[in-house]
Amino acid sequence: MTMFNTVIPRGWYFISYLKKLNRKKQIEFSYFGGRLTLITKTLKASLNYLVDNTIIRNHSLPTLLYKDMIFVYYSEHGNPSTKEEELSLINKLISIQHFDHRTTSTYCTKVPTSLFNLSENIVDSAHFPIVHSHLSSLEIEDFITEPYSFVLKIKLITSRILLFISPMSLDIKFTSMSIGTGFFAVYSRMIEWECITFLTPINHSTTQIVLYGNLHKMFFFPKFLNPLFNIFFVTTFGRTILQDINIWKKREITHQPVLSTADGPIMKFRNWYSKFI
């Protein structure tokens, strides 16, 4: 259990948009506690760790290009077969029906916290009304775990201040889905908005967050306002994540937390997560 904060879970992680990279070059990134080198033409990736300017470990990582996005498969111990995960990943991404990157708004930030803290946050329903006071409550209606993913059904009640457009608090239902530990998609039929979160560990205590939001229809509002609402939703969602940072910084992950009936499915989530570490 204490491994949660110190081990980077194996799985597929988002690295970069291909179109942002110079196609002729070999590019270096800081990910997974080491240096990730990517040859953009061949999409060959290798990860090495430098100690006193000497490379102490160097191994290649499987890569995947999907809709202009480059993903790599990270695993602490070598490169296990990734076929199963690969298939599952692609299927899940496609199943988010409206996914279309041309109309999105993105938000990218690096946060000084572990991937685990960020991931557990979403099933930890009890902290929402305390830490994120713009939400008055979050109820988890269902939490289904599968070997490489989970589906979470959430009912969110916003406080009035969040949506200045609404005179009263709103009751929004979301379905969220994770694919491994590096992807997390939230979508709501009600406001026809979806947001994919890509979490990529820079090291065990720093994580990159890329939010990728897409809005189709916001109640009765005209379509040309969509980009505005979308930016608002994505940044609000991003800021919500940042509100927890101070708590995570000093948090101690305990072996056997004392849980109450008001808690979300923390242990079920931890069991699922520990399969990746």
């Binding site: 930890d124 009890a126 902290h127 009304p129 305390i130 830490v131 101070n246 708590i247 000093k250 948090r251 101690e252 992950i253 305990t254 937390p257 004392v258 849980l259 109450s260 009936t261 008001a262 808690d263 923390i266």
Partner: protein, 324 residues
């Protein structure tokens, strides 16, 4: 039974320790403090009562130092669980069922004469008796000089000073020409009493003098009070009280209080207080350079001129945790 061999003198002993003046924590405030080689969270409720607990919430591990005071409870910043002064969770938002394991360890504490005392121990036995310092609230003593300083030393080194008469003419040669330990007894209530006479050099005062010092520990080895008469003319009686509180195994907080017999003359009170404080401070500075780098040997080689180092260790052993 604890013996010298079975305990680890490099660890932190149990006892009542002063962690600061009452002003350290204001009503309704929460703070994180570092003592005894670990972190603690201290808060003062609306009823002015102080509670000291280990820092992480039993729920999902948030740091309670960022919590807030709700009435006399500490509310965790993460999910809002509220801890009372016994460390028991008494409220969880959105549920009435409180899990049985929802409690934290608290450290016993007392606030007396403007100082906060905390009981630290490794064992589960009841606390040793609380030290009673009689002079702090008696009108015929004037105490004005309270000084807090961080010293790089282990609590062991400072305590051993009590019986180590041989170091006086060497380390404190600026004013001590000779030191002699007249008696050394362990009393009940875990205390130790020693009588020491120190001959000062001529330059120290207008003439060489013999100062008789009665040293007594209070509530373990965390505090020692020394009583002596200073100056033959006009003579005054002095109490110096030193509290030592380990921050970790190599540094500690020293709170030094000097009280002089009330001369009913503010100038004289001030003068005696000032001089005594300076002398005591001087001895501490002289000792510090040794304390900083010394190590505690399991089998020191001792000579016939040494003070009662071994009996002292035997007495001190009762406060130390066993070797692992």
């Amino acid at each position: 039974m604890t013996t010298i061999k079975s305990v680890d003198f490099n660890k932190i002993p149990k006892g009542w320790f002063v962690i600061g003046k009452s002003s350290l924590i204001k009503k309704g405030n929460v703070k994180t403090i570092h003592y005894f080689d670990q972190e603690f969270v201290i808060y003062r409720g609306k009823n002015r009562e102080i509670t000291i607990l280990t820092p992480h919430c039993v729920h999902l591990g948030a740091h309670l130092g960022d919590g807030v005071i709700v009435n006399n409870c500490l509310r965790c910043p993460f999910h809002g669980w509220e801890y009372n002064s016994q460390g028991q969770v008494i409220k969880i938002p959105f549920t009435n069922t409180i899990p049985r394991r929802a409690r934290k360890k608290t450290l016993p504490n007392k606030e007396i004469n403007g100082f906060i005392f905390v009981y630290f121990t490794h064992d589960n036995e009841p606390p040793i008796p609380f030290p009673i310092v009689s002079f702090l609230n008696q009108p015929h003593w004037k105490y004005s000089h309270v000084r807090e300083s961080i010293i790089d030393a282990s609590i062991y080194s400072i305590s051993e000073n009590l019986g180590d008469k041989a170091h006086f003419p060497v380390v404190h040669d600026t004013f001590v020409s000779h030191a002699q330990l007249d008696s050394f007894i362990t009393e009940e209530n875990n205390n130790l009493k020693a009588k020491l006479s120190v001959s000062t050099k001529k330059g120290f005062c207008w003439r060489a003098q013999n100062i008789e010092i009665t040293l007594k520990t209070l509530g373990g080895i965390s505090a020692a009070i020394s009583q002596f008469h200073l100056f033959s003319f006009p003579s005054t009686s002095v109490h110096a009280l030193i509290f030592i509180t380990p921050i970790d195994s190599t540094s500690l907080l020293m709170t030094k209080i000097v009280a002089v017999e009330n001369k009913k003359n503010n100038f004289l009170n001030f003068l005696y207080n000032f001089i005594t404080s300076r002398v005591i401070w001087q001895t501490i500075i002289e000792d510090s350079s040794i304390w900083e780098k010394r190590i505690v040997l399991d089998h020191p080689v001792l000579s016939s001129d040494d003070g009662p180092i071994i009996p002292l260790r035997k007495w001190m052993a009762q406060f130390y945790p066993l070797k692992k």
